[in-house]
């Protein structure tokens, strides 16, 4: 029933990777704050940066402005740079003010930016000092979301990686599920695993700091997001073992991901099939509807979120599309390998970006669907290409069976729309 045979012509795991260096049309890691602050309901993210950082956050989050979000930017001013003010004293003052205004905050992340990294403000030291000042009520951690070090979703990776060293120790055999998911999806995931009898499960990130996420040598962990390379490394450092699997997108990806965990925990095939049969059938039905318009069409991925490889696997194997190029900001074999194994050989795999050269390739290939960032989508539409803006893929519940149809729908909608609009004169 679980047909996860590799493609006949071989997969893409050993395919040559095109690496180019030039302008990158991507967000920096600060962007992750937009979903992380909603996920961790007692956390505040304080970026130490410039007006550009603040402007980025509100522009990227522009569609979802809240009256008072749980993030902000401590904007560096000339006095901070000229050494007239001690950055650490200033930071202590702003943090004290913030925490006194928001007593509901239990964990504070100091988030490094390009300017704070360049002028070398030691946020690790600041976090340690502020932790002592505000303990036990508030835990202060730090990570870098700077553009010189992180691309878009790597911000979440850096954030979660910063939490691993302070997780409690445990020797219990537990399953740790890693990656920020919308609550509704997380609940579905826990229900599926629970029905298989796996319920010694911890989550990273937990919704609140009081939750009892712990890690140790008997922990096994699975990643729900393909961009958590540093978190993966930190967890292995704590002795935990990674369950490698394709990522849970679509029917096939979800089944493979669940199967890998089921095998680890000795779940019988009967139980596995009983639990997954109904949602699998629903997923297949929903995908089939959306895939009707995708079948036989070509797709070109610009690098954005590191979701590209698993999504290309989904679109080619489950929606009948052909991939022309699959660009990813970074490729980690330990994370992306299982998906690359399943992705049929043929597409150009590329890592990093020179956006002008990549645009030349896309224009030459004239794909039926181009997956790209917000800065490129409308210009490419104006050139007659059909696009799917990639940020929706991280702002929409797309994991696991019940969302598989929605995921396919995100790609089919622009194609359907193009065929629906008729504005020429009738004759």
């Amino acid at each position: 029933m679980n047909d996860l045979t590799p493609p006949i012509g071989g997969g893409c795991r050993t395919a040559p990777v095109l690496k180019q260096r030039g302008q990158r049309e991507v967000f920096c890691g600060l962007t992750g704050i937009i979903w992380l602050h909603r996920k961790m309901q007692d956390a505040f993210f304080l970026v130490v940066g410039s007006r550009t950082c603040a402007h980025l956050l509100q522009s990227a989050a522009g569609v979802m402005i809240f009256a008072e979000p749980r993030f902000g930017t401590a904007i560096l001013e000339e006095t901070d740079l000229a050494g007239m003010a001690d950055a650490h004293t200033e930071l202590d003052r702003e943090v004290a003010r913030l925490l006194s205004r928001r007593p509901d905050i239990r964990q504070l992340f100091l988030v490094g930016s390009c300017p704070s990294e360049v002028i070398k403000i030691d946020l690790a030291r600041a976090a340690e000092r502020l932790s002592q000042v505000h303990a036990p009520h508030v835990r202060v951690l730090n990570y870098s979301g700077s553009g010189i070090e992180t691309t878009f979703t790597q911000g979440e990776d850096a954030c979660l990686a910063s939490m691993v060293p302070v997780l409690k120790d445990t020797t219990a055999r537990e399953l740790l599920l890693v990656g920020a998911l919308p609550d509704v999806v997380e609940d579905q995931m826990l229900a599926l695993l629970g029905e298989m009898g796996i319920d010694n499960i911890r989550l990273l990130p937990a919704r609140r700091i009081d939750d009892t996420t712990a890690v140790g040598p008997n922990t096994v962990f699975a990643l729900t997001q393909p961009f958590l390379g540093d978190t993966h490394a930190e967890l292995e450092r704590r002795g935990a073992r990674h369950i490698a699997a394709p990522f849970p997108f679509g029917d096939e990806g979800t089944t493979a991901w669940l199967q890998a965990i089921a095998t680890e925990f000795g779940v019988s095939d009967d139980v596995f099939d009983r639990v997954t049969a109904a949602p699998r059938a629903r997923a297949r039905k929903a995908i089939a509807q959306a895939a009707e318009v995708l079948r036989g069409k070509s797709v070109f991925f610009f690098p954005d979120s590191q979701l590209e490889i698993p999504l290309a696997r989904f679109l080619t194997r489950e929606c009948g599309m052909t991939a022309i190029e699959v660009g990813s900001p970074y490729i980690h074999d330990a994370l992306h390998g299982p998906d690359l194994d399943l992705l049929p050989a043929g597409p150009q795999i590329s890592e990093g970006q020179d956006v002008d050269l990549q645009l030349d390739r896309a224009r030459a290939a004239r794909p039926d669907l181009t997956v790209c960032g917000l800065g490129l989508a409308n210009p490419l539409e104006a050139e007659g290409l059909t696009t799917k803006w990639a940020i929706e893929l991280v702002f929409t519940p797309v994991h696991f069976y019940e969302q598989a149809g929605d995921l396919a729908g995100l790609f089919s909608r622009p194609v359907r729309r193009k065929s629906l609009l008729r504005m020429e004169a009738a004759e």
Partner: protein, 513 residues
């Protein structure tokens, strides 16, 4: 260091991008790390532009910092010139590149490019977006404008409109038509739509119309000083301002300037009896200095509103806005701190806000209708339809914009009359907006009535008695804030400690108009 939640303005290099993006044949080489490309989406998504901003980001990474970011800049600069073949380039640094001090201007100069290279010095840690746009446009004009003969007939330039400007596209069209009616043709509009060649031809015009002081004043002043071109000081937003502007153009040009007012409908729309309900509506106005000043005059003199507070986020306009506030007998709020604006609005509890995208959110939270009159704005405020702010059609458009968020006049009466009607009540919002989503029936939680509501008013504590509180709830939401405030002020003035039903109606009589 200053904690910021939302910002009204981006960094100054975004201002430079606004200039570059609205021009043609100009390219911006920006020394910047990965991630600063986010700014492209302001133009491609929010303004729905169909081309990428003409900006090349050098995209340096942490590992480049120890080695050679200067070579990276030169390579990116050369590639951009080869690929895009611009007539001129502007070069500069974003906030991070400013710190590594590579001197893009000096580097570009040594490259021996055969096109004009215009260096930008935009201090990221002390200035903001509007300054960046103003300074960039000024540097472009200063470098490229060529001395030349004036045109034989009377012409002017329109200066200031940029990408992401509030209704810039339509204001240019409306203003060009208005000037044509007056016998003045437009030589160049800049920077919006201009090429470097057009910029060179700016001095051929007889005078300049400064449409957007925020982003064009430095260039206008320089052209006045260097090329003897006077510039207009009045921005023609509103009926009165448009008429004053026409008089100003007549003075500068010596032309008779008899405008055709046949399409101007706003004065009659405002005088007609249906508009009576607008009388004395308390409005709070916040945005960029230019639009705030224009709207204060429109609100008071053309709509018959009462202006209860004004302010602007751009410090460059602090002086005129403070002077204007004195004129209106209110305090000016000069701040770019969103939370301060929210607090001011909450304290004044106006019946309407004229503001930016941010104030729309404040209004939504506080239940106060808001019309958007100034940048920054989001995608829904870049309309497909023709929607200018300047000139006579602009006045018509503004009238519609200002009444749309409000409950209609007759509806207001009916809501007041049938206060307790279970179907016809104010929580449905204005009837021309479409209904809000039906709410789940509220559980009837018994309210704790043992403790009457206390209000602190500068030391004194006022207590709302239950029957007064209940009566207040019957007042429609669009006047409830005012009623509460008036009553509390009245009670404080009378030295009362409690507000009874009687106090509420005495206050109502006291403030009757």
């Amino acid at each position: 260091m200053k904690l910021t939640v939302w910002t009204y303005e981006g960094p100054p290099h975004v201002g430079a991008m606004r200039v570059a993006t609205c021009m043609k044949g100009l390219h911006y080489v920006l020394h910047a790390p990965q991630g600063d490309t986010y700014a492209d989406l302001l133009f491609t998504m929010i303004e729905r532009r169909n081309h990428r901003p003409p900006v090349t980001y050098t995209t340096f990474q942490a590992r480049d910092l120890g080695s050679d970011t200067a070579t990276l800049f030169k390579t990116a600069c050369q590639d951009a010139v080869d690929r895009f073949a611009p007539e001129a380039i502007i070069v500069g640094a974003s906030c991070t590149a400013e710190l590594i001090q590579d001197d893009p201007a000096g580097l570009a100069e040594t490259m021996g490019l055969d096109i004009p290279v215009i260096p930008l010095e935009l201090p990221s840690y002390s200035r903001k977006e509007n300054f960046g746009a103003d300074e960039t446009f000024y540097q472009i004009v200063r470098t490229l404008a060529a001395p030349q003969e004036r045109t034989s007939h009377v012409t002017c330039n329109i200066l200031g409109p940029t990408a992401l400007g509030f209704r810039a596209r339509d204001d240019i069209e409306e203003l060009t038509g208005l000037l044509y009616d007056l016998g003045v043709s437009v030589n160049v509009v800049a920077p919006f739509g201009a090429t470097p060649t057009d910029i060179a031809n700016l001095p051929a015009a007889h005078f300049n119309v400064l449409l957007t002081p925020e982003t064009g004043e430095a260039a206008a002043r320089w052209l006045e000083k260097t090329h003897g071109q006077p510039f207009t000081k009045i921005v023609p937003i509103g009926v009165g301002a448009t008429r004053d502007f026409i008089a100003e153009v007549a003075t500068i040009t010596g032309l008779p300037c008899q405008p055709d007012e046949s399409r101007l409908r706003m004065p009659w729309w405002s005088r007609s009896v249906d508009s009576t309900y607008l009388t004395g509506k308390r409005v709070f106005i916040f945005g960029d200095g230019t639009h705030v000043a224009a709207h204060a005059r429109i609100a008071r003199d053309e709509m018959g509103f009462e202006v209860v507070g004004i302010g602007c986020y751009n410090r460059e306009m602090a002086r005129p806005i403070r002077a204007l506030a004195r004129d209106y007998g209110v305090d000016a709020l000069i701040t770019d701190d969103y939370l301060e604006v929210e607090a001011a609005i909450e304290a004044l509890s106006p019946e309407m806000i004229l503001g930016t995208q941010m104030e729309r959110h404040i209004g939504k939270r506080l239940g106060i209708p808001c019309a958007v009159i100034s940048a920054p704005v989001h995608v829904q405020d870049f309309p497909a339809r023709y929607s200018p702010q300047v000139g006579f059609e602009g006045a018509n458009v503004i009238f519609d914009t200002l009444i749309h968020p409000l409950v209609m006049g007759l509806e207001e009466h009916l809501l007041t009359m049938f206060r307790d009607d279970f179907e016809f009540h104010d929580e449905n919002g204005p009837s021309h907006h479409g209904g809000p989503a039906p709410r789940p029936p509220q559980a009837d939680t018994p309210r704790d009535i043992s403790e009457p509501k206390k209000v602190e008013t500068g030391g004194d504590v006022l207590v709302w008695l239950a029957d007064a509180e209940k009566e207040l709830k019957k007042i429609p939401f669009f006047v409830r804030g005012k009623a509460r405030r008036n009553t509390e002020t009245f009670a404080t003035e009378k030295g009362l400690a409690e507000i009874s039903l009687e106090t509420l109606y005495e206050a109502k009589a006291h403030y009757a108009r």
